[in-house]
């Protein structure tokens, strides 16, 4: 199993979520994060003075999937989260050794 961590633009969350549901992924966990990267923060102007807001609000999507679904999942996220503009975000794939569903005690792919 793999954990796919995707950092995406917040307003793309709904679309990505729906796309993942469509390919059969039922669970995911979302965190509000701040991104620093090539996309530069915007400038806020308060009383005419400029303030650099370095960080950019992003959401992080954690999805644990069986190996078989990794490619499909990544493709779905990529397709929906892409705007082609800087700051679209990243997808990281990390190994997961075990999964357990607390409610039932199931483990492995059955627990995802």
């Amino acid at each position: 199993m793999k954990k796919i961590e995707a950092i995406i633009k917040p307003f793309k969350l709904d679309e990505v979520k729906d796309a993942l549901n469509e390919i059969g992924i039922q669970g995911m966990t979302v965190t509000e994060v701040k991104g620093f990267g090539r996309q530069k923060g915007h400038v806020e102007l308060y009383r005419g003075a400029e303030y650099d807001i370095a960080f950019i609000p992003k959401v992080k999507l954690d999805v644990v999937v069986p190996d078989s679904l990794v490619a499909k999942t990544v493709a779905a996220i990529e397709a929906k989260a892409k705007t082609g503009k800087i700051g679209d975000g990243k997808i990281f794939i990390l190994p997961v050794e075990e999964v357990l569903r607390i409610r039932t005690g199931e483990t492995g792919e059955a627990a995802i």
Binding site: L45, Y46, R47, G48, A49, Y51
Partner: protein, 463 residues
Amino acid sequence: MKNLMSAFLILMFLLSAGVVFAEEQVQKTIPPSTAAEQGAPPAQSAPAAPVAAEAPAPLKIDTGDTAWMIVATALVMLMSIPGLALFYGGLAKKKDSLNTMAMTFVAFCIASILWVMYGYTFSFGTDIGGFIGGAEKLMLKGVGPNSISDLAKTIPEYIFLMYQMTFAAITVALASGAYIERMKFSAWVIFSVLWMTLVYVPVAHWVWGGGFLAKLGALDFAGGTVVHVNAGIAALVGALVLGKRKEKSLLPSNLTLVVTGAGLLWFGWFGFNAGSALGANGLAGAAFLNTNTATAVAAIAWMVVEWMHSKKPTVLGLASGAVGGLVAITPAAGFVNISGAIVIGLAAGIIPFFAVAWLKPKLGYDDTLDAFGIHGIGGTLGAILTGVFADPSINEAGKGLLYGNPGQLVTQLIAVGVTMVYSAVMTLIIFGIIKVLVGLRVDPEEEMIGLDESQHGEKAYNL
């Protein structure tokens, strides 16, 4: 801490001394004419309402005037807590919001106490050489439910003196906008005590209590010099002495609070300005109209300038413009006609914007919330323009440049200048004293963590 405690002990001692003192005098029922014995001249800036003119002989309370002035007093109280506390607290960083609100809160409490102890008598007691009021009403000695001041002939003196108290309190609190996010809370407490005593009280006497600026004929309907120039200069000087914050940006924690605060300030300002007519009459009506109009014009003007200058009209800009307009119309509210109000509003929306957006970064002082940029500049603008636009058909007591009296403009400039110099020098001295007593700034780490945590051990939000 030790120094702080000594400061408190002094405060408490004064308080108990006052109680004993007042206890001794056992207030007898005071004849209404008590106040008249002081021989104070009739208020220049607030001519008696037509109605009051009918009862010349013994001063008599008018229930209508009293009703309005009770409410006006409450309204000015509301401007401090929660009005200004919200306006400033919402603009402060999240980690400093509560401390910012506490500064206004504690200043109001301190002023409330000191005013009845000695502030009122030194401001409005019998004039001594044009510089200070006499001590005859220490602890409100001789003031009772039936007393009437010669400065407000149709309302109970209790209301008149509370009304004046609310002005003292908000003036102190206004200065805090320049000091926040780095000043020790104990330092602020001591500042409130000293500055109100050594700066506000004398200046109020000079302009409103029959002092030398009043004799000179300075016009200040509701506090352009006494309140806004005075507090604005203290803000600037204090900001310079305190030095810059570590994190210089203005990162408003909660702009919904700022809008709320601005709304409450606007609302309360009707008490401030229309209340300065000291009665429910046509002059109060004029002050009300001018206040609202100048404020609206200033808000729109700031918005338009910002829209053109920085591409987007911010909500903070709207609110800042409104406050600028309120400040600038304050000295003029009961003197100018509607055209004067509109011009003052335009000036108050445009000039402070540039003071804040252009001058401040250029000069490099760190006035966190622009207490100088808005109150200092706005108050100065208003005081001077009062000398230009004062229209005798609105108020016989004021005749400006445009109505053939260029001397008024000179008088206004003198009043502003005197206030500026005095406020600057005394603020400097007071900061020096505080530095010795408890120090001025929190540690750098306390500043990073935020003053809510470091000064109060609290967090504004647990959301």
